[in-house]
């Protein structure tokens, strides 16, 4: 049996970071924990939980946990509830931290100082970190740390999380605190503050600022000047639109060289294996099933990463809140909250983080509507499908003086996704939410900040790793399953048609074909749609395998195979189907979890399937009619 002292020494001190969104909390977390972080979820909810080990210069170790951003313990959203429950020690499966680091944006102290007064009542020992002190000093803000510490009754230290030298003072203070031993928590006295208490706390914060901070004559001139353009009623929306357009052109044109490289790499790999393996089933499995299938999905990694790069940079710049400001009225017209803009924009990358980001919307009904329409935004997994069909059927010419036609069609597909999301939400509002009062829009517009290369690269790397992991597991398994379905049973001796005609895949495809015939989908497409349920991009790989096994695909360019086999009407109907179709099991699972039950998952599945079928039906018949008439 261990005695109490060694047990206490063996237990690592747990430090939690608390602070408002945009105070540089994540940058500080990265600076403290370096590469030791583990990203997971808080038990029972999809709120991201980041934890890591920090080692001080004197070699002491502590666990650091990054709590979701919050303005107060008076939680209004799921994220903020998690922070409150952890801080108050009310969260099952989550130990109460030993020590709080309250992170403040040194250029905007008021809210953080109020948060400190609130957190002091929670009873945990804490220290205030004035983060981004370099920016504050640059702006001429002078803070007397000692006086502030005295006024607040808690230790205060300045830091610049994004510079190594900026962390020295904080590390030294952490060493001091750990050496002396963290104080035992005091009594928990926190109660939700009344309006009177809130006022007093803010006035007290203002008093502390008046005594300890010297503000420059002209505050934040840079952001003010930039906003004169970016929030201008005319220039603002134009810049936003240009940004989005540039993003899609970059995704389409900028990624091409890297994609060619990956595609050639896999082609070469396939040729190598084809040469060394004996012809037959094994060769077919490795070359067509594994290399061909996984390669046809991996080739889209550059496009997905470019899209994420744009989103991460805009987020770190502080532009996203501005975009929400510009879009609020437009979104409001469609019955959406201005804050829904950020989750919807994230959904361009993937609906899963987008749906999770809806937690910033505190009104439940607004949030549910956003969750239901988020999958209509064109996620990056649709890019492979769109790219393939566009490459096969849209000529590579320029129109209107240098705009690529292919990029334009892509832009149109994105526009269709956005329009339909707004339309669905507007219809929901008209049918089910008549006479509802508007929820408020109140949000901080933070100062612009230079994005840090390190945090952007870290974010991109995390997305890349997620995609590669998917490619290595879900997509790989789906590919093996598709290959098996497309290969067995083998054709009888003396059969004349292509081998695939005899396979399970063909039978499955033929089974659904009658349902899809009105929209112009043959059994090959039906089969790709089934396999695409695992992940949208698998449909492309599915088509690749079906056509490779079917024997028409010769050069490894499935696009050319498609352009010979499909009519234009079918191709366009396929695109229309993909604008709407709920082709992703993980998204449905997240909807179920975030909406708190299966009901909304079924609603999403049903309405998207219906829209997809109708859209494909109209597209197919109108195109066929026009082609026939032309």
């Amino acid at each position: 049996m261990k005695d109490a002292i060694t047990e206490a020494a063996a237990r690592q001190i747990e430090v939690a970071l608390v602070g408002a969104p945009n105070c540089g909390k994540t940058a500080l977390f990265n600076a403290l924990t370096g590469s030791s972080q583990r990203v997971g979820n808080f038990s029972g909810v999809t709120v991201e939980r980041k934890a890591g080990i920090a080692t001080t210069p004197e070699g002491r170790r502590m666990t650091v946990i990054d709590l979701p951003g919050t303005h107060s313990l008076r939680a209004r959203s799921l994220d903020e509830e998690v922070t409150r429950d952890v801080v108050l020690g009310q969260r099952d499966g989550e130990a109460r931290p030993d020590f709080l680091l309250v992170v403040a944006d040194a250029t905007n102290l008021r809210g953080a100082l109020r948060l400190v007064t609130e957190l002091k009542r929670a009873g945990l020992p804490l220290m205030l970190v004035l983060n981004m002190i370099d920016i504050a000093r640059h702006r001429g803000i002078e803070i007397d740390e000692d006086a502030m510490a005295k006024a607040l009754g808690v230790p205060v230290v300045s830091a610049t999380a994004v510079r190594r030298a900026g962390m020295e003072a904080l590390w030294a203070r952490l060493d001091e605190i750990l050496a002396a031993g963290v104080a035992a928590p005091g009594p928990m006295q926190w109660t939700p503050p009344t309006t009177g208490e809130l006022r007093r706390a803010l006035h007290a914060a203002d008093d502390v600022i008046a005594q300890t901070v010297r503000l420059p004559e002209l505050p934040h001139t840079f952001s003010t000047r930039v906003d004169r353009v970016l929030l201008n009623p005319v220039a603002g929306p134009i810049v936003l639109l240009m940004l989005l357009f540039a993003m899609f052109q970059a995704v389409f044109a900028g990624a091409a060289p890297a994609m060619d490289l990956i595609s050639e790499g896999f082609g070469w790999l396939g040729a190598v294996f084809a040469a060394i393996l004996p012809a037959g089933l094994i060769e077919s499995f490795v070359v067509d099933g594994v290399i061909g299938g996984v390669g046809s999905v991996l080739v889209f990694l550059p496009q997905i990463l470019i899209l994420f790069t744009f989103i991460l940079i805009l987020e770190d710049l502080g532009y996203m809140a501005r975009a929400a400001f510009l879009m609020d009225r437009l979104m409001g017209g469609a019955g959406l909250h201005g804050r829904a803009f950020i989750p919807l924009l994230s959904s361009f990358a993937c609906a899963i983080p987008g749906i999770m980001a809806t937690r910033v919307i505190d009104d439940r009904r607004d949030r549910l509507t956003t969750i239901l329409v988020a999958p209509l935004m064109t996620c990056s997994a649709r890019i492979p499908v769109y790219t393939l069909i566009i490459a096969a059927f849209v000529p590579k010419t320029t129109v209107l003086g240098g705009i690529g036609l292919q990029g334009l069609v892509m832009f149109g597909l994105y526009a269709a996704g956005i329009t339909s999301a707004l339309a669905v939400s507007a219809v929901t509002r008209l049918l089910f939410r008549r006479g509802e009062l508007a929820a408020p829009l109140m949000m901080d517009l933070p100062d612009y900040k230079m994005p840090q290369a390190r945090s952007i690269l870290l974010g991109i790397w995390q997305r890349a790793r997620m995609f590669l992991k998917r490619a290595g597991t879900t997509i790989f398994l789906a590919m093996v399953a598709i290959w098996l379905l497309a290969t067995f049973p083998m054709p009888p001796d003396g059969a004349t048609g292509p081998a695939i005609e005899y396979s399970f895949a063909a039978r499955l495809g033929h089974l659904i074909e009658p349902l899809m015939a009105p929209v112009g989908f043959g059994w090959e497409i039906c089969m790709a749609l089934i396999t695409g349920m695992a992940a949208r991009e698998v449909a492309v790989a599915g088509l690749a395998t079906v056509y490779a096994v079917g024997g028409t695909e010769t050069t490894g360019h499935i696009a050319s195979a498609l352009s010979q086999q499909w009519s234009l009407a079918t191709a366009l109907a396929f695109l229309a189907w993909y604008v709407f179709a709920p082709q992703c099991i993980s998204t449905l699972a997240v909807i179920r979890r975030e909406a708190g039950g299966p009901r909304y998952m079924w609603i999403a599945l049903g309405y998207m399937m219906a829209l997809a079928w109708i859209a494909a039906f109209i597209t197919y018949n109108v195109t066929a009619f026009l082609m026939g008439a032309g």
Binding site: S72, D227, L231, P233, F325, D328, E436, M442, D444, L445
Partner: protein, 93 residues
């Protein structure tokens, strides 16, 4: 159209145009105007810095219907819909 509150000296922030400067006189939230209970609406405004005496300036107006507005509150900038800003009464400078 600008609204002067019944007391004759304060103006309603929700109807002010870009360029308005003043100090916050008081918050008067009304039950049944928005989806939130009046007290909660008031608490949220306070949390964003809207307390008596705060220096206010309407810096930007949204592109459609001049809504929402971006307001400087002390040293921070906050976006809010005009309907939410109706609860804020300010004394012009």
């Amino acid at each position: 159209m600008q609204h002067t509150a019944p007391d004759g000296t304060t103006r309603v922030l929700g109807t002010e145009r870009k360029g308005f400067r003043g100090r916050l006189a008081r918050i008067e939230t009304t039950e049944g105007i928005g989806r939130l209970p009046a007290e909660e609406q008031e608490r949220r405004l306070i949390e964003l810095g809207f307390v008596e005496g705060a220096v206010l300036e309407v810096l930007h107006e949204g592109p459609i219907g001049r809504d929402p507005i971006a307001v400087r509150v002390g040293s921070a900038m906050v976006a809010l819909r005009r309907s939410d800003a109706m609860a804020i009464l300010a004394r012009p400078d």
